[in-house]
């Protein structure tokens, strides 16, 4: 984005906040990847490497009471909504201190108290759910909104289309996004859909849509702000296609030989963290010394988080049996309503 456009619309503190979360996301996921390679993390290991700007950008545009339904490469959004790096690592290590207490792994986490609808593997399953959350907000006349996303692959599922349609028909306060990172596992976009821009899909539902550079955190943030403002004003849903590139394999086990190396080379130059640093330097908000400080800080935070996670207890076998059904007491504690109003 143009420097003047950015500095006139985004406060210095907000940009620095986003830079910090970009760095924290990268450091945390790099650590997770290293643990995976050492065999200390089992199961899937999906990262947002090279795509961090999307989750950081949209989650920074939210108000406290808003709700998100993130997809599986939105680590930054989990962090910004308040899941700590320690909890994330505990989740990956199957510890009781993770958000699912060991019942689920990796990015399959959620917490209504922090406005996060728990991720479900089945891609796009949560988009109709997000629509329903938005419906509740609208019915109660609250000014809260929902941001919900999926990948390019996820937009092929019926649930994506059903959610988009319903939200548009009822003008619900929801912002949909697609992280178009050009591959769904090994499947390139051309085998996923007969269009080149996912945003085309929005038209079919009478929903406004925009293409946004997903590697430009300022652009993602400002676009999200626009969509969120419209949703909050009762003008209905917006769809954003965040264009980016998946820089690692689908999961860390996958060498992704099916991706042409030139494509990765090209996108490497557009790394969202380097782009953010260029922007901060141009704006006079940051320099190499500052970036170095942040880098050291997040590294320390991640190491402390790992220590917390490692020291945390594993769940005991019989805990498997807990929580299949909710009790009335569970329900009465559920964070359903606006926290500010309470």
């Amino acid at each position: 984005m143009d420097l003047a456009d950015v500095t006139s619309q985004i406060k210095r503190a907000d940009l620095l906040h986003m830079y910090y979360y970009l760095r924290l996301t990268r450091a945390l996921e790099d650590r997770i990847t290293a643990l995976y390679r050492q065999g200390r993390i089992v199961g899937g290991c999906y990262t947002s490497h090279g795509m961090e700007a999307i989750a950081v950008g949209y989650a920074s545009a939210l108000e406290r009471d808003d709700v998100i339904a993130p997809f599986h490469r939105d680590m930054g959004a989990f962090l910004i909504r308040g899941i700590t790096p320690g909890e994330v690592l505990a989740q990956y290590l199957g510890k009781r201190t993770g958000p699912t207490k060991g019942k689920d792994g990796n990015v399959h986490m959620g917490d209504l108290k922090r406005g996060i609808i728990g991720f479900v593997s089945h891609l796009a399953d949560n988009l109709p759910v997000a629509t329903g959350a938005a419906l509740a907000f609208k019915m109660r006349g609250e000014s809260r909104i929902v941001v919900a996303g999926t990948g390019d692959g996820g937009t092929s599922r019926g649930d994506f289309h059903e959610a988009m349609n319903f939200a548009a028909v009822r003008k619900l306060p929801v912002v949909f996004f697609c992280t178009n990172n050009q591959y769904a596992y090994s499947t390139p976009l051309r085998l996923q859909m007969a269009i080149t821009d996912v945003v085309e899909r929005a038209k079919a539902y009478g929903m406004p849509g925009e293409i946004v550079d997903g590697n430009d955190v300022a652009a993602v943030y400002l676009a999200s702000k626009r969509g969120i403002a419209k949703a909050r004003a009762g003008e209905g849903p917006t769809f954003f296609e965040f264009k980016t590139m998946r820089m690692h394999g689908h999961s860390e086990h996958d060498p992704a030989k099916y991706v042409p190396p030139e494509l990765l080379e090209e996108w490497k130059k557009r790394d969202p963290i380097l782009a953010a640093e260029r922007l901060l330097i141009e704006a006079g908000y940051g320099d190499e010394t500052y970036f170095h400080e942040i880098l050291e800080r997040v590294k320390k935070e991640v190491e402390a988080a790992l220590e917390f996670a490692e020291k945390s207890p594993l769940p005991e076998g019989p805990e498997v049996l807990e929580g299949v059904f909710a009790t009335d007491a569970d329900l009465s504690h559920q964070a359903t309503h606006s926290r500010s109003a309470a």
Binding site: K103, N106, V320, V324
Partner: protein, 332 residues
Amino acid sequence: MTTATSHATGEVTYLEAISQALDEEMMRDERVFLMGEDIGQYGGAFRITEGFLDKYGEWRILDTPLAESGFVGAAIGAAMMGLRPVVEMQFADFISCAFDQITEVAAKNHYRWGAAVPMVIRAPFGGGIHGGPFHSECPEGWFFHSPGLKLVAPSTPYDAKGLLKAAIRDPNPVIYFEHKFLYRRIKATLPTDDYIVPIGKADVKRPGNDISVITYGAMVHLALEAAQMLAKEGIDLEVVDLRTLAPLDKEAIFSSVHKTSKAIVLHEDNKTGGIGAEVAALLAEECFDSLDGPIVRIAAPDTPVPFSTPLEEFFLPKTSDIVAAARKLAAY
């Protein structure tokens, strides 16, 4: 022209047996084609179809969009028009996205209006791989309650190959549950000739006189392990591998229990409403006079499959559970 006997001899894994069956059926019958996510260039999430794209081309090895209901529905249509689709679920768990097409369209077409749907859905299922609630499920119970579907679940490379071939040649929709835990863990030498394992036939994997363990999938191996341990104590288990879950081989189940008079029904799926519940009910109905002790069920508890290792270990049935149950039952 290659023939159906082109595969090398020597030991093959359970996973390779599945690959061989697909390959040989595709060579045998040009109507057979595969659909699924990432099965082409990538060769599938578990590499079952590695090399198939080069061999058969992109119209017989179709990489699909991420849309299970869409491609299962498409398989139904193609099957009715004379093709023999075999679709791959990346994980059995995602079969829920295609539930409607399977239970309402595929299962009922022939009964309602006489249209046969000869197709196969391969569903890599089961736990023990740290997959958590969405990559470890045993969804066979959902489909067991849908008349019109055949369900198979091999436990050995021999059965894996033979049952897949039988499934592809069957005139009905067949869901083929392949256990992920077994993929690379068990090996066998297979016949070089074309063979099938008939759908609807159970197999006694270990004959014994004292207690019948009626099971399928990965649990067969636990039962065999338990049998070996118990043999030293003079308890002789008979391990009945159902192989086909629907329709059940009632004759084989009954004849084993008539012989042993005692039954343990074992599966990895949740206990309530699973296939074991039906087997236990059948035994109560049909073998009451032969029974010399209560019908014992060993299964996973009624919870989702958990992720964390101690939770998953607690969740999955263990050899020691079988041993303990058999000792108790033997003393009856």
